[in-house]
C-alpha cells in the first residue's frame, strides 16, 4: 500500500472550505459588505450630509443607483456609511459578550458546585428578559445613541457565550489529556488557557458569527425606533423609519436599506453554517 501523502492541516481546511457552498457564498457576501463599509471611509458616490431638495425622492437611475431620499441624499452612499455603523455596533457587542461570557463560562465549568449553579441561575435571569425589550429599556433610560446600543446588545451576548463555553468546557474536563495535564501539576487556570480555550475556539467562532448577525438585526431594530445611532449619522434602521412615511410614493427608500440588512445577515448566517460544517464534523449531522 502506497503511503498517503500528508496534507498540512491548514491546507486541507482551505480545500474543504472551497468545496463548501454556504461558506464561500457567505464569505463573498460578507466581504462585499465589509468592503463597501471600508470604502465609505474614503469615498462614497455622493456626500451623505449633502441635502439637495431638487433631487428628492428620485427613483433608481444611472446617477443614483438606489435612488434618493426625501432630502435628495443618495441612498447607496447612505447604505455604505450605514454599514460602518451596523458592523461596528454588532462587532463590539460580540466582543463584550465574548470578553465577559467566555471567562464566566470557563470559570463555572472549572469550579463547578455552587458557583456553577449560581452563575447559571444568573444566566437564566438574563435569558428571561426578551433581549430587544431590555435593549429598548436600556437605551431609553441611558439615552439613545450608538454607544448605549452597543452596551444594550452586548449585555445579552454575555449569557450566550457563557453557556456555549461552559458546555464546551464541561465536555472537555473529564477527557484524558486534561487529566494528564492535571497530573502534571497544572492549575485550573493554566489548563483552561492552554487546553480548554483552544479546544472550544471553534464553537466560539461559530457562535460569534451567529451573534454578529443577530447584533446587526438588533441594531437595525433599535435605530428603527430611534434609539440607535443619531442623525446625521446614517443607519439602516433609521433609513427604514424615514421610508415608512414615504412608502406610498417612494418604495425604493424602503427596499434598498432593507435588502442591505437581509444580505448582511444572510451572509453572516451562511458563513456561520459553513464554519460549523468545516470546523466540527460532528455538527454536520444536525443540519
Amino acid at each position: 500500500m502506497a503511503p498517503q501523502p500528508t496534507i498540512p492541516e491548514t491546507q486541507s481546511v482551505m480545500r474543504r472550505a472551497r468545496g463548501s457552498k454556504s461558506f464561500m457564498i457567505g464569505l463573498a457576501i460578507t466581504a462585499i459588505i465589509a468592503a463597501a463599509a471600508a470604502l465609505s471611509f474614503v469615498w462614497t458616490p455622493y456626500d451623505v450630509t449633502q441635502i439637495s431638495i431638487g433631487d428628492k425622492l428620485k427613483p433608481p437611475s444611472l446617477e443614483h443607483w438606489f435612488g434618493t431620499d426625501h432630502f435628495g441624499r443618495d441612498i447607496l452612499s447612505m447604505i455604505m456609511v450605514g454599514a460602518r455603523n451596523s458592523i461596528a455596533v454588532a462587532l463590539v457587542a460580540v466582543g463584550i459578550g465574548m470578553g465577559l461570557g467566555v471567562p464566566l463560562g470557563c470559570w463555572a465549568a472549572a469550579r463547578g458546585g455552587w458557583l456553577d449553579e449560581a452563575l447559571m441561575r444568573l444566566n437564566d435571569v438574563v435569558f428571561a428578559f426578551p433581549a430587544l425589550l431590555s435593549a429598548i429599556m436600556i437605551t431609553a433610560i441611558f439615552g439613545p445613541g450608538a454607544v448605549n446600543a452597543i452596551i444594550a446588545i452586548g449585555i445579552f451576548n454575555i449569557p450566550v457565550f457563557a453557556r456555549v463555553s461552559r458546555a464546551g468546557a464541561l465536555a472537555l474536563w473529564p477527557r484524558e489529556f486534561i487529566l494528564a495535564a492535571r497530573a502534571s501539576g497544572k492549575g485550573k487556570l493554566m489548563i483552561t488557557a492552554e487546553h480548554i480555550l483552544p479546544n472550544i475556539a471553534n464553537l466560539l467562532l461559530v457562535q460569534g458569527t451567529i451573534q454578529f448577525a443577530l447584533g446587526i438585526l438588533a441594531e437595525a431594530s433599535l435605530s428603527y425606533v430611534g434609539l440607535g445611532a443619531q442623525p446625521p449619522m446614517p443607519s439602516w434602521g433609521r433609513m427604514l423609519f424615514e421610508a415608512q412615511t414615504m412608502i406610498a410614493i417612494a418604495p425604493h427608500m424602503a427596499i434598498f436599506p432593507g435588502l442591505a440588512i437581509v444580505m448582511t445577515v444572510l451572509g453572516l448566517n451562511l458563513l456561520g453554517d459553513g464554519l460549523s460544517d468545516l470546523l466540527d464534523p460532528k455538527l454536520r449531522r444536525q443540519k
Binding site: 441561575r121 435571569v125 428578559f129 426578551p130 425589550l133 431594530s221 428603527y224 406610498a248 427596499i255 440588512i261
Partner: protein
C-alpha cells in the same frame, strides 16, 4: 416525577425573584424625578416633596421594592404617574391587542413551519427541500419591521385589501379587529416560522436515522404512519424548546411591530411609558412580560416530562 417538578418550579421561582430585583434596580437608577416630571418644571419644591411623600418615593429602596413586589403578588400593579389609573387597568386594555396578536403569530408560525419541516425532512436533498431551506435561510435574515413595511406596501397600499395600521377595537366587531391584526401577525410570524421549520426538519432527520424508525418500517408500517406517529412525536422536544423561546421573541417583537402598525398594545404602552418616564408602568409591564416568559419556559420544561417519560427521573 415529584422531585423533578419541585426542583424545576423552585429554580423558576428563584429566577422570577432575581428578575424582579433586576427590573426594580434598573429603573431605580433612571435619571429624573417622577414627581418632578408629573408636576412640571414650575412646581414648588414643597409641592414636589409632598408628592414624593405621597407616592412613597422617600422610603428606603428596600421598602419600596417590598411594597411593589407585595402589591404585584396580590394583583396591584401600582398607579400610572401620567394616566392616574391603576396599571392593571392599562394592562388589561392593552393586553386584548397584544395577546391575540402574539397568539395569532404563534399559530401562523407553527402552521407554516411544522408542515414545511416535515415535508423537507421526508424529501431530504430533493428540490423542494433545497428551496424550502433556502427560503428559511432568507426568512431568518429578514427584519420583521422591514417585512411589515413591504406587507403594508403590497396589501394596504397597492392592493387595498387590509388596513395599513391602527386598531378599531374589538367592539367594532371580530372581523375588522382580526383584519387589523393580520398583517402584523404575518410580519411577526415569518422569521419565527423560518427558524421553527429548520429546527423541525433537523430534529426529524435525527430521529429518522434511529433504529426504532427502521424497525417500524421493517415491520410493514407505511412511510407516513412512521413519520407522523413515531418520528414526529420523538422530534417534538427540540420543537417545543424553540416554541418556548419564540414566545419571548414574539413578546419583544410586538414592541417593534406595534410601533409599525400603530397598534395600541402592551409594546406601545411600554414604549410610551418610557418616553414619559412613567416608571411604575414600565416596571410593572416589563415584570409581567418577564414573568410570562419564565412561566412559559417552565411549562415547556414540564411538558418534556409529559412527552418523554425518561426525563422524569432527572
Amino acid at each position: 416525577m415529584m422531585p423533578f417538578l419541585l426542583k424545576r418550579i423552585g429554580t423558576g421561582a428563584i429566577t422570577l425573584l432575581l428578575a424582579s430585583i433586576v427590573v426594580f434596580a434598573m429603573l431605580d437608577v433612571v435619571p429624573g424625578d417622577p414627581a418632578r416630571m408629573m408636576l412640571g418644571m414650575n412646581a414648588t419644591e414643597d409641592a414636589v416633596q409632598a408628592l414624593r411623600e405621597q407616592m412613597g418615593l422617600n422610603q428606603p429602596l428596600i421598602m419600596r421594592y417590598m411594597s411593589w413586589l407585595g402589591g404585584f403578588l396580590v394583583g396591584d400593579l401600582g398607579r400610572s404617574y401620567t394616566y392616574s389609573v391603576p396599571v392593571s387597568q392599562l394592562v388589561a386594555e392593552r393586553a386584548v391587542v397584544s395577546l391575540p396578536l402574539a397568539l395569532l403569530a404563534l399559530f401562523l408560525s407553527t402552521a407554516i413551519a411544522i408542515p414545511v419541516g416535515l415535508y423537507s425532512a421526508s424529501h431530504r436533498g430533493k428540490a423542494a427541500d433545497t428551496i424550502a431551506m433556502g427560503a428559511s435561510q432568507l426568512g431568518v435574515a429578514i427584519p420583521n419591521f422591514w417585512f411589515a413595511l413591504l406587507l403594508v406596501y403590497v396589501f394596504a397600499i397597492a392592493l387595498r385589501l387590509l388596513p395599513a395600521g391602527g386598531f378599531p377595537g374589538w367592539t367594532a366587531g371580530t372581523w375588522p379587529a382580526l383584519k387589523a391584526l393580520f398583517l402584523p401577525a404575518i410580519a411577526l410570524a415569518l422569521p419565527q416560522a423560518a427558524i421553527l421549520a429548520r429546527v423541525t426538519r433537523s430534529a426529524l432527520l435525527d430521529v429518522l436515522g434511529e433504529d426504532f424508525v427502521r424497525t417500524a418500517r421493517a415491520k410493514g408500517l407505511s412511510r407516513n404512519t412512521v413519520l407522523w406517529r413515531h418520528a414526529l412525536r420523538n422530534a417534538l422536544i427540540p420543537v417545543f424548546t424553540i416554541l418556548g423561546l419564540q414566545f419571548s421573541f414574539l413578546l419583544a417583537g410586538t414592541i417593534i411591530i406595534e410601533n409599525v402598525f400603530y397598534l395600541p398594545g402592551l409594546g406601545r404602552l411600554i414604549f410610551q411609558a418610557i418616553t414619559q418616564r412613567d416608571l411604575i408602568v414600565v416596571e410593572s409591564v416589563v415584570m409581567l412580560l418577564v414573568a410570562t416568559v419564565i412561566v412559559v419556559n417552565l411549562l415547556v420544561d414540564l411538558s418534556y416530562a409529559a412527552i418523554d417519560p425518561r426525563l422524569r427521573g432527572t
